[in-house]
């Protein structure tokens, strides 16, 4: 056993009793007393298994040493993270490490941190004086390249007979490796999601001889909301209150954990719209009471929440004399459409048509951009890009007013405006405008540039208590079909409604939610990294034995966005949407499964053996 193991890290102790020394995450009121006195109670434990990210593209590094300079071609979700770590490990100044990631075949969080193979490739390249490429096998992707930690969560909920929550306690334990400090924050959404005067969230950890867990799409909140939402559904059933109505009864007016208002929360509207689109009012609550075409139907629902915040970001924009614009930011596109979103933003702000916008991403030689994680890339880059555009426009106007022979010579900058790619005198209106390319050419300039920056609202840089509580919200309504005669359960219909701020690109946005729901079907029904009980290795370490949802498992998915801009987060009001779609879906599916079969599955996935 590791001698540094703290008491609460002892696997034996933690796994059975949640550890003698709980770590407190959030507390208000007297949850124990309130629970003891509550007329209606629920005390259940929910388990989520280890899951493996399984992006299509394997992790791999190509390392090149060129004298003192180390260049890494990566499939990273966070090139600047990678640079910092590699510079530190090899004792190099940061400027001497360059990380390039032009495209990523998906990551789901597994590519947020450099794993062993990155430094191995770099060390081998240094040793050999030749470029070295090291790509992990699929099997290795299950071992020490990250996975979602197994969690075990005890939920205690107390309520009045009328359905008002009086106490909520969440005690969770998660597994991590013998070495790492990873935190699976299952209590992320618990403190603010419902109105309840007495609450406590605590956690313990269990060290295991496994690879280090890491963030996986919706880390913390996804397993966390599976437990809280399942508990809410169970208590609603116990109280014979409709689960939607139960949420309505416990909707908070403010974030009760921070004592601040929400920047923009429309969960009730999500529920209303979702219920309407799904036809929820036709639900009969008795188990197995709904049938169609010889199949038993089960209807279930759950809500979702996900943090909305920003990382620091910088960006650079050039307006060029050929009428094109180039926008550069050292963030990366992991398949979520960051190239497209940045092009859209630049086009919108500069009036340059989309096809004339060039986007440069994925290189640490560009201005430092955010990690593609936490659903924050878009929200983070928006202010920086807008700032850079404004800066470039400022330079352009200065060129216009100071170039001899310019139609705007001797005008003051603030007399001018820039719209749709043209500079004009405000008083004369846009029709009189001159294209910016003409102005640059007459000034004999190839381009003007602007730099933009924005600060972080998340992580270490966050200092004081925020004025608002900013999150995204949503809900899922699910129909499953059940054929007891062959023990066949299938997800048949999903309606999701998301309140995720302004949706900049509805196609890309829908794609994120649909993809997350597909992953949620996998989480609920199939996914489970199985460790061999004798030697501890992940044994289903390939995509044939690690069962994920395939096309045939995916029914019609209906996605609706409320589209309320949240200008607390950035001027456009856009929050992230990469992860929220996976939150809550497993709880909605287990609820639907219970409605159809009468079986409460409290340990995912819902395998056949749990239903027969």
């Amino acid at each position: 056993m590791n001698p540094d193991l703290k008491a609460e890290d002892d696997p034996q102790v933690v796994a059975t009793t949640y550890g003698p020394e709980h770590r407190l995450q959030s507390e208000r009121g007297d949850p124990d007393a309130a629970f003891a006195k509550a007329p209606a109670k629920l005390d259940q434990t929910y388990v989520t298994p280890s899951e493996t990210h399984n992006p299509i593209e394997l992790q791999g590094t190509t390392a090149i040493w060129d004298g003192q300079m180390l260049t890494l071609y990566e499939e990273s979700q966070a090139i600047f993270n990678m640079r910092t770590v590699l510079a530190q490990m090899f004792g190099l100044p940061k400027e001497n490490v360059r990380v390039i990631t032009k495209f990523v075949g998906s990551g789901f969080g597994s590519k947020l941190w450099p794993w062993t193979h990155c430094s191995l490739a770099a060390a081998a390249a240094r040793q050999l004086g030749k470029p070295v490429k090291l790509v992990l096998s699929r099997k290795m992707m299950f071992q020490t390249a990250g996975h979602r930690a197994r969690t075990q969560q005890r939920m205690r909920l107390g309520a009045t007979q009328e359905g008002k929550l009086v106490s909520l306690m969440q005690d969770y334990v998660y597994e991590r490796s013998m070495l790492d400090e990873y935190h699976e924050n299952c209590g992320e959404a618990t403190p603010f999601h419902y109105s309840v005067p007495n609450l406590r969230v605590k956690f313990g950890r269990a060290r295991r001889n496994i690879g280090s867990p890491s963030d996986m799409r919706g880390p913390g909140a996804v397993p966390g909301l599976y437990a809280t939402e399942s508990a809410m559904n169970e208590l609603a059933d116990q109280l014979k209150i409709d689960p939607v109505q139960f949420r309505v009864l416990n909707e908070p007016k403010i974030d009760e954990s921070l004592g601040v208002p929400f920047s923009s929360r429309h969960l009730l509207e999500c529920l209303q719209l979702g219920a309407e689109k799904f036809g929820w009012s036709k639900r009969t609550p008795e188990i197995g009471s709904m049938k169609r075409d010889g199949l038993t139907l089960g209807w279930g629902m759950a809500t979702a929440a996900w943090v909305a915040a920003r990382f620091a970001a910088a960006a650079n924009i050039q307006l060029r004399d050929d009428g094109t614009t180039r926008i550069a930011c050292g963030t990366q596109d992991i398949g979520t459409g960051t190239y497209t979103i940045l092009a859209q933003l630049a086009a919108e702000r500069t009036g340059v048509p989309l096809e004339k916008v060039e986007v440069a991403l994925g290189d640490t030689s560009l201005p430092e951009g955010p990690v593609s994680g936490g659903s924050m890339a878009t929200a983070s880059v928006i202010p920086a890009v807008l700032d850079a555009a404004d800066d470039a426009i400022k330079s352009l106007l200065t060129v216009a007013t100071t170039t001899p022979g310019s139609p705007f010579e001797k005008r003051k900058n603030d007399e001018l405006a820039f719209e749709n790619g043209r500079v004009f005198v405000k008083a004369n209106g846009p029709a009189s405008g001159v294209p910016f390319a003409d102005l640059l050419r007459s000034a004999d300039l190839r381009f003007v540039t602007g730099n933009g920056q924005s600060n972080a609202t998340f992580g270490e840089e966050k200092k004081e208590k925020p004025k608002f509580s900013t999150h995204s919200y949503g809900c899922h309504f699910v129909e499953v079909t059940w054929q007891p005669e062959i023990a066949r359960l299938r997800v048949n219909r999903v309606v999701s409604v998301m309140d995720a701020g302004r949706i900049i690109n509805p196609l890309a946005g829908r794609n994120q939610i649909e993809g997350a729901v597909v992953m949620g079907i996998g989480m609920a029904l199939f996914e489970h990294t199985t460790y061999d009980p004798q030697n501890g290795a992940p044994i289903n370490s390939n995509v044939a034995d690690y069962i994920m949802a395939v096309n045939a498992d995916v029914p019609k998915l209906e996605v609706h966005f409320l589209d309320y801009p949240d200008t607390e987060i950035n001027p456009l009001g856009a929050r992230g949407i990469g992860e929220i779609g996976l939150a809550g879906i497993a709880a909605a599916i287990t609820a639907a499964t219970h409605h159809a079969t009468g079986v409460r599955v409290r340990e995912l996935p819902i395998t056949i053996e749990k239903l027969i």
């Binding site: 023990a487 004798q534 030697n535 290795a537 034995d545 395939v550 056949i608 053996e609």
Partner: protein, 334 residues
């Protein structure tokens, strides 16, 4: 993957002569025929198979499907699974075979896979496929990691204390219910083996899976003519809706006359160490009325000797439900 030498056989004799030099035709073979390659290459990449010589048999003139004079069907060893599944006679007279093949793998794999290759596909036991693990089938005497480990997908019928690996094929289950005959050509000439005798139970030699000897080449498979008035059906149950091996499956060929079952052939997949023909179930069915109670009795009989492991006890009930439902559907439409 280990280095190997690839050659191509242009006639069966050449292939047989090349194959005859092998020390074994079973696990550990140093010379292997290769057809679609979808099992063999997979296992070579995992170093589970490491033949020094690989003989390509796909150019042999064995890719035809022909009707026999007795009304049966002759299927060449190199007929691709897709061609077999979509053949009009197969779809009409041997629906169970078409359905079984189409329930397995993916279109791409079925386009590559062949009749002989499918007959000889290896188990999906995860320990068999992982050379760092003990496995009696891969390395006789090293132990069976599955019995004490992860065995959810493995067999409950025909197991031994040395191996509980499932025969994963869907096609084989249909062939078992259709009473297919495997025609083999070897150094000593031709012989015909009923499918029920072709695959071996693991016993204490799980590395031996079939009756094949070095040089033995499967040349074709024949099916007896369809029983007049019979109906057939394949039902496959698994976790997800597609692209997964069976947890339980049932192939049924049934003749109903005036509400009575006059003929029944039943085979189960996903639960046996070989394609699992169930004479017990057939006895319960024959001469009885086509009712759910009778089907259930047949299913109980089929699974009477089931020996569940630590994680696959649910397969007993799942296989029963699978068989009952298959029988229900096949007799409903009759």
């Amino acid at each position: 993957m280990k280095l190997f030498e690839l050659s191509r056989a242009d006639d069966p004799g050449q292939a047989i002569a090349a194959g005859a030099k092998a020390t074994t035709a079973q696990q550990g073979a140093d010379i292997r025929f290769i057809a679609g390659g979808t099992t063999l290459i997979d296992l070579m990449k995992l170093n589970v198979e490491a033949p020094q010589k690989v003989v390509d048999v796909t150019h042999l003139p064995l890719a035809k499907i022909e009707t026999l004079s007795d009304g049966g069907l002759k299927i060449g060893a190199m007929v691709r699974n897709s061609d077999l599944a979509y053949h009009p006679i197969v779809r009409k007279d041997y629906a169970v075979l078409s359905e079984a093949i189409l329930s397995g793998a993916s279109p791409q794999l079925r386009n590559m896979a062949t009749t002989a290759g499918n007959l000889l596909q290896r188990t999906r036991c995860m320990y068999f496929r992982d050379t760092t693990m003990p496995c009696n089938k891969r390395e006789p005497g090293s132990g069976c990691a599955a019995i004490t480990g992860v065995n959810r997908s493995l067999a409950i019928l025909g197991t031994s204390e040395h191996c509980i690996a499932t025969n994963p094929s869907d096609m084989n289950v249909a062939l078992a219910a259709l009473e297919a005959i495997i025609h083999i050509r070897g150094t000593k000439g031709d012989r015909s083996v009923p499918i029920s005798d072709f695959h071996l139970l693991p016993g204490d030699t799980p590395q031996r899976e079939t009756v094949l000897e070095p040089g033995d080449l499967i040349i074709h498979v024949t099916l007896p003519p369809p029983a007049p008035g019979s109906r057939s059906f394949y039902l496959k149950l698994r976790d997800r809706a597609s692209y997964e091996f069976a947890l339980a499956s049932a192939a049924v060929v049934v003749t109903v006359d005036g509400g009575k079952i006059t003929g029944a052939r039943v085979a189960l997949g996903g639960v046996g160490t070989k394609p699992w023909r169930s004479p017990e179930a057939e006895t319960e069915l024959t001469g009885q009325a086509a009712t759910e109670a009778v089907f259930r009795k047949a299913a109980d009989a089929a699974l009477r000797d089931a020996k569940p492991q630590s994680q696959n006890g649910f397969k007993v009930e799942l296989a029963k439900r699978c068989l009952v439902h298959a029988l229900k559907l096949v007799t409903q439409t009759a």
